[in-house]
Symmetry: C2
Subunit: 579 residues, 2 copies
């Protein structure tokens, strides 16, 4: 609040001045009393003035008895997962009723470091969606791979005072916290000394093991998988997020743990939500609707997606429809049976109607985040996989998640000991090629469960360091796919018999594009079709998203980084050969 705005609101409230607009006949969702009441809601200068009272207004909007909800707040997301730049992301999620996101630019910062932070702040500055950032706490995610940057306390200090940076992003390094590792402590100190939040990420950590993590002032968690885990994290003072992303979906798992007693410690988030999921099902509204359809009290669910998030992140200017707060809201005919954002308003101005954005968000040209492809001496030789034995470990894709198995296979090798693809076996070669510092690093391993018969698929999205990852049955297509990504500055591409079957260009850090949600989903839809029809990738998995997680050395059991095959359970590199 500032004096000029306060004066405008007070004058309008006291009927000394005319309001900008009034929403008549609205069923207002009151997240404080947790009830519905019917009112005319007055707005001035983008903020709520008050209810009823026969005030004057320049514009009248008839809500026709529809529900009026505070705009939804996504408590934790990675914009990069949408493949969209912040302006296009705004255009994609605002029509779903999301008006504020708390985003962790973990992916782009892993590639481009502080340039990524700078870009995300700048590109999200003057768009309808309110974008707040958490400074990524784990760049790189582990010491077992090469990311594009190393961000520690000195780097955090440069951004943490920005009022749009709300604290430190998901602290994935549980061992670092529990051991009071000094680098980790220095990072957290940046948030502590400013009383800013630290987001958590502590899958399966409960009981006494959780105490050190909670004692470190880590205030949220979005990785709960059971009601008991949710309950314990709330007991330790944390807010627990019900996450409904694309690969990870926990709303229904966690719902049995949520009740009228603890629901004000619950938030909603999307974490990683792919463009197709946004188009098909929506955004935060999807998770909220799902929870309601499965028994959560509608107003408690709405409160979790609004007031609770505003409270948790100290966003004092939003989260409820009350005088003096931002007029971010939407109208929906139903709250019991699917929340649909029929008309979405931000700062009192209508931004979307019936799922369509009305005015495209202002676009900011990406600077210092494009074409990040510093790959040294790449050639087929880098793809060599020559184990000492025919009996080897394979990364075993498990459909429906990002966890892999540690499988085995008996393989064919040529006279030089080089792996040869066996048509009768669902085993392919996987390679990770370092792309940030021209180290020349590349590593190879075998993978099962991908299903592809012949060809290669490569992507520069490979959590969390986002090196190039490529899968294939033959080196020739794999080389072409990798070379294509280097040439275009990143993306997803498919080759077969030397032919480029399809390419999705991600020119912003190899992670995102300036295309719109519609263009991205259309392209991806074609790509999926090709992966299915021409490459015969297993129908049980997403051909691209699955690949993205095969280099993530914090998710069990077997993963491949640019430095080699990694046994996550042993938290150490391992050999392919089974001796």
């Amino acid at each position: 609040m500032d004096k000029d705005r306060a004066r405008q609101l007070i004058d309008a409230a006291q009927n000394r001045d005319i309001c900008d607009s009034v929403i008549r006949n609205a069923k207002v969702v009151d997240v404080c009393n947790k009830e519905i009441f019917t009112a005319d809601v007055y707005i001035k200068d983008g903020y709520f003035v008050g209810f009823d009272g026969n005030r004057r207004a320049k514009t009248e909007i008839d809500a026709k008895g529809r529900y009026m909800l505070p705009g939804f707040i996504d408590a934790h997301c990675h914009i990069e997962s949408s493949h969209l730049s912040p302006s296009e992301f705004s255009d994609a999620v605002v029509p779903c009723g999301t008006t504020t996101v708390i985003a962790d630019p973990h992916e782009i910062c892993n590639v481009t470091g502080l340039d990524g932070m700078e870009y995300m702040l700048k590109a999200s500055e003057n768009i309808p969606l309110s974008v707040f950032l958490m400074f990524p706490s784990c760049v790189p995610a582990t010491a077992f791979e090469h990311s594009g940057a190393i961000l520690n306390a000195p780097e955090i200090e440069k951004f943490i005072d920005n009022p749009r940076v709300l604290g430190l992003g998901e602290m994935m390094n549980y061992p670092g916290v529990a051991s009071a590792d000094s680098t980790v402590m220095d990072k957290m100190q940046c948030a502590w000394k400013r009383e800013k939040n630290i987001d958590g990420h502590a899958p399966s950590i409960t009981g006494p093991a959780l105490d050190s993590y909670a004692a470190a002032g880590i205030t949220t968690d979005h990785e709960c998988e059971t009601p008991a885990e949710l309950h314990d994290k709330i007991r330790k003072g944390m807010y627990v997020m019900l996450r409904e992303g694309t690969a990870c979906r926990n709303v229904l798992q966690l719902l049995p743990g949520v009740n009228e007693r603890n629901c004000n410690r619950i938030l909603f988030c999307t974490d990683d939500r792919q463009p197709q999921s946004i188009v098909q099902d929506g955004h935060v509204n999807y998770g909220v609707s799902l929870a309601i359809q499965h028994g959560l009290d509608p107003i408690s669910a709405i409160t979790a997606a609004t007031l609770n998030a505003a409270t948790c992140y100290h966003l004092a200017d939003r989260g409820m429809i009350v005088p003096g707060k931002r007029a971010d809201f939407f109208l929906s005919s139903s709250i019991d049976n699917g929340i649909k954002a029929e008309e979405v308003f931000i700062l009192g101005a209508k931004q979307a109607e019936n799922g369509k954005i009305l005015h495209k968000a202002m676009h900011t040209k990406p600077e210092n985040v494009s074409g990040k492809m510093d790959v040294k001496d790449f050639s087929a030789a880098k793809l060599s996989f020559r184990p000492q034995s025919d009996h080897v470990k394979v990364i075993e894709i498990i459909p429906g998640g990002v966890v892999t198995g540690s499988g085995e296979a008996w393989i064919k090798r040529d006279e030089n000991g080089e792996w040869i693809h066996d048509d009768g076996q669902d085993v392919l070669k996987l390679a990770v090629i370092e792309r940030h510092h021209g180290t020349g690093n590349a590593s190879t391993a075998l993978i099962s469960g991908y299903g592809m018969k012949h060809g290669a698929v490569a992507t520069s999205i490979a959590h969390d360091s986002h090196n190039i990852i490529v899968v294939g049955d033959n080196d020739s297509d794999m080389v072409k796919a990798v070379e294509k990504l280097i040439a275009i500055g990143g993306g997803i591409t498919m080759f077969k018999d030397g032919e480029e079957l399809g390419t999705h260009v991600l020119e912003i850090a190899g992670l995102m594009t300036d295309l719109s949600l519609e263009e991205v989903t259309e392209c991806l839809s074609k790509m999926h079709d090709i992966a299915d029809k021409r490459l015969h990738v297993s129908k049980e998995i997403d051909p691209f998203m699955t690949l993205c997680f095969m280099a993530l050395p914090v998710i069990p059991a077997l993963k491949l980084t640019d430095c080699g095959l990694f046994d996550v359970n042993a938290f150490a590199f391992t050999d392919s050969e089974i001796k």
Copy 2:
């Protein structure tokens, strides 16, 4: 949180270091899940480490199955009403389970201005009780009286950045807010620009009239008198306080409006609680117990007195028993049937047991706040009451509150027109003598319902400007009483036939004393006895507290300030004569 403490807590949580203490076998009140669970609770360096886990601890305390509650937070109080200095106040309320108060030093600042603010901060700095202050927003309370200071935005700016100053105190000037008065706006701007709270005080303001007040970002109210008013204020985004003071008690009035849906927007406060009430019934624990005994869910009531207040005032380090928060807590055998703080711990150290403080709080010598008695040319002549007619207005005391009636009387006058006391009539003379700036101001009027037969009672506690107020049947005793207060620097005194019957010295600004709660209550008890037995003050009223409110020109209907008789309903001075 800071790095050193975090490291200690983490090391203790991970069992690398020994904890300072463990509270074994406690029924912990979990205000997040709103449930009770049994645990061993570990503490290190004054903060909670965690639950169970067979850790080591230097000291073991057996809770023997008692309830373990977070220390209570008084969301709004005036320490001055206890007559105690901050250190003695700490000793008085900590044994009741209050470990944090948010105090508005409105009274002392009305007398001593910024010196009062300085003193309250300093005197509350190193005591067990956590004292946070709200900078008083209304000094003076009105323009119709002389207070000791005028505090506006420039004065607020000097203190508002102090981390123990949480914002602007109760904004009693509703008309000033509603009219966007520039002095009021400048004061509020001090809080707005730092995102600090502004406390409210808006009795009976609801509906559209409340909108401008809520739009100004005023976040709390402790003046609700009906469930409907409570409900409306919560709807406008405000936290509503259930107040249980001495003169004003709203818990039972408001309770029907509190339910499981809105209870996280409820706080508890004591506002003005007299020393006798603290001794007899307790402090915040009394209001909480009362609410529980009359049907509020015990854990919801406890949550209101702990987590809700911490949330509302952004006190991130307290309000719940979870790892990383201050180990401020107490043990109670019961929560359903009266909460009694049997053992009280602050920062993990036991401070009180069975209602007794264990170590007296460090006392700070009052500086620049003593003997504030600048009275010019006082003599019997100042007490002259010579109306133009025998038919006059009288201030009519109404037992049980601070509202007065506007009564009438036919009086006796001497040959000079001077009022003469009529033994057959319960009408006395009331005078207010300015004591801050030596203006020589004094005003007189008549008052009914006090009951005293013969003598005079005077006090330097006279809300909100705290000039000297004196009541009596004869000028001689009245003069002696006033002279006594001037001589001792303030307090309460009684005279009869020239004899000093009793005096309660309030040497700190004429409002507070360095005596202990026990000494104060003993003195007051004797004084009450004398007022009853020797002065025959009406048994329906408190002889001293009633007097304190007779100069408060914001409470209807008729009051007397140092500037004259004030008609609160007309908000203007008035004559005594009825024409």
